[in-house]
């Protein structure tokens, strides 16, 4: 009897032992299966962009809907204040603007003559006509938002419903701001030129030395890469978009060179630049769109919606 009882206890202990081993195994299997599922979905989305599109057309748009009423109220209050409280400063401001407009008219007269002359020369030499671009305004409703907003971006109040597409250049009168990263129906996010994943093909305004301008984060200087050691480039020189990437039109002011250093160990000059636009204080921007009939440059395909996140660093 005692022997039989001992067997029962032994069997029970063995069962208990086995179930004790099984539990960590089950947890391990669940962890591996969860990780596998997660990475599968992640990879599938990287390839297709379906989930990115879903989140853009839901989350990004919903955040836009949430922010817009508050911004509208804020605008009304600020507008009221500026219209009525600062009315006394309007006369002075009006005089300044008149003066500036006169100066710009004079400059424009000279520029127009030169532009007409350049057009005539280009047609004489058989150059292909440059692409035409349309400008349209958009309002900044937020800078980067949320814990997953790790790239330096802006959110603007226009989306695919009003013709905004990924990779459209975003500018201000002072210079380039960045390009559209992704779009919702009524909202879009813009990758700033100060972000480390931004690349813009540029050329020096005076010495015409080409290079690739990339950001290092807000407050950090921009870096001009791949400028040959024997290339001519001066501190203070304006950098213009070269148009080689096919995303930006040629000739947009992008940045100003602040430092040129010759390295003993590199084949390229170390060149730093500063953006012409203070991206932290941007309130309105201009979106550039190719005019109808003006396709992208030869050899490059038009950007496809949903691929922008894959091509963040791929200009």
């Amino acid at each position: 009897m005692r022997r039989a009882g001992a067997y029962v206890v032994a069997a029970h202990t063995a069962r208990g032992g086995r179930s004790g081993v099984r539990r960590p195994q089950k947890i391990a299997i669940a962890v591996v299966a969860g990780l596998f599922l997660y990475l599968s979905i992640y990879t599938w989305n990287l390839r297709t962009g379906h989930l990115d599109a879903l989140s853009s057309y839901t989350g990004l748009d919903i955040s836009g809907f949430i922010l817009r009423p508050g911004l509208w109220v804020s605008d009304q209050v600020v507008g009221f204040w500026e219209r009525y409280i600062y009315l006394v400063a309007l006369k002075q401001r009006n005089d300044d603007l008149h003066e500036e407009a006169d100066r710009l008219r004079r400059e424009n007269m000279l520029m127009s003559a030169r532009a007409r002359s350049a057009g005539r020369l280009e047609s004489l030499l058989g150059f292909r006509a440059p692409e035409q671009w349309n400008f349209s305004g958009a309002r900044v409703i937020a800078q980067r938002m949320g814990p997953a907003g790790v790239l330096a971006t802006l959110t603007v109040d226009r989306g695919s419903a009003s013709g905004v597409r990924p990779d459209m250049p975003v500018v201000m009168p002072e210079g380039v701001v960045g390009r559209v990263l992704e779009t919702g129906a009524t909202t879009a996010s813009v990758l700033l030129l100060t972000d480390a994943n931004s690349r813009i093909a540029v050329i020096g305004d005076e010495n015409r030395s080409p290079g690739m301008l990339s950001g290092q984060g807000y407050g950090q200087p921009l870096i001009l890469r791949f400028v040959n050691l024997n290339a001519l480039i001066d501190s203070g020189e304006l950098l213009l978009s070269s148009g080689l990437s096919g995303l930006y039109p040629k000739g947009l002011p992008v940045a100003r060179v602040t430092k040129v250093q010759r390295s003993d160990i590199s084949l390229f000059l170390t060149v730093e630049a500063e953006p012409l636009v203070d991206v932290a204080g941007v309130e309105e921007v201009l979106l550039l769109d190719r005019a109808v009939g003006a396709g992208p440059e030869e050899g490059r395909d038009a950007p496809v919606d949903g691929e922008a996140k894959d091509r963040v660093s791929g200009e």
Binding site: S55, T58, L67, R144, A148
Partner: protein, 161 residues
């Protein structure tokens, strides 16, 4: 659950989401919605938490600019931390919530590093570390505020078993 509780819940969680999104506009990198997930699990759990998580994942992913995956891992691991932590701690204790905040604070830069590496993106890690510290510090404060303001009619612990 009394008849008006669904309407109250929708209104309360709607207002919480609205405030959370505005807060995220002013303090980038910090998730003000995550304490809501914990509060919802403490008070209701089940389908309502899942709905909130789905909506907030879409919001986080839409507002963010990493390839899709951060929000799922973020809230998924928060739920795992919470469920595992309940084995050792009282779920509603402030100490436990502080530990959850620290967990999220550590998780944020790790997830950013992991997803940025997978997506081949250059991301400044110093910023993520600061944001992680901010997340750890703000998490219990937001949870406390939300818990204080949570409608009595929606509380599960105030009702008879």
């Amino acid at each position: 659950m009394y008849p008006g509780s669904n309407v109250t819940a929708i209104l309360w969680w709607g207002a919480y989401t609205l405030i959370g999104v505005w807060a995220q506009r002013f303090v980038p990198g910090v998730d003000f919605l995550a304490p809501g997930i914990v509060l919802s699990m403490q008070e209701q759990g089940g389908a309502r938490t899942v709905w909130l998580a789905v909506i907030w994942v879409l919001l986080l992913e839409g507002m963010g600019n990493l390839p899709f995956g951060y929000g799922v891992a973020w809230y998924g691991l928060l739920a795992v931390f919470y469920i595992m932590g309940r084995w050792l701690f009282e779920a509603r204790s402030l100490l436990f919530v502080c530990l959850l905040g620290i967990g999220l604070g550590v998780l944020h830069p790790l997830l950013i590093y992991f997803l940025a590496s997978l997506g081949n993106l250059a991301v400044p890690m110093e910023t993520s570390l600061v944001e992680g510290a901010l997340q750890a510090a703000t998490f219990p404060v937001i949870w406390l505020a939300a818990d204080k303001l949570f409608p009595k009619g929606l509380r599960q612990d105030a009702k008879p078993l």
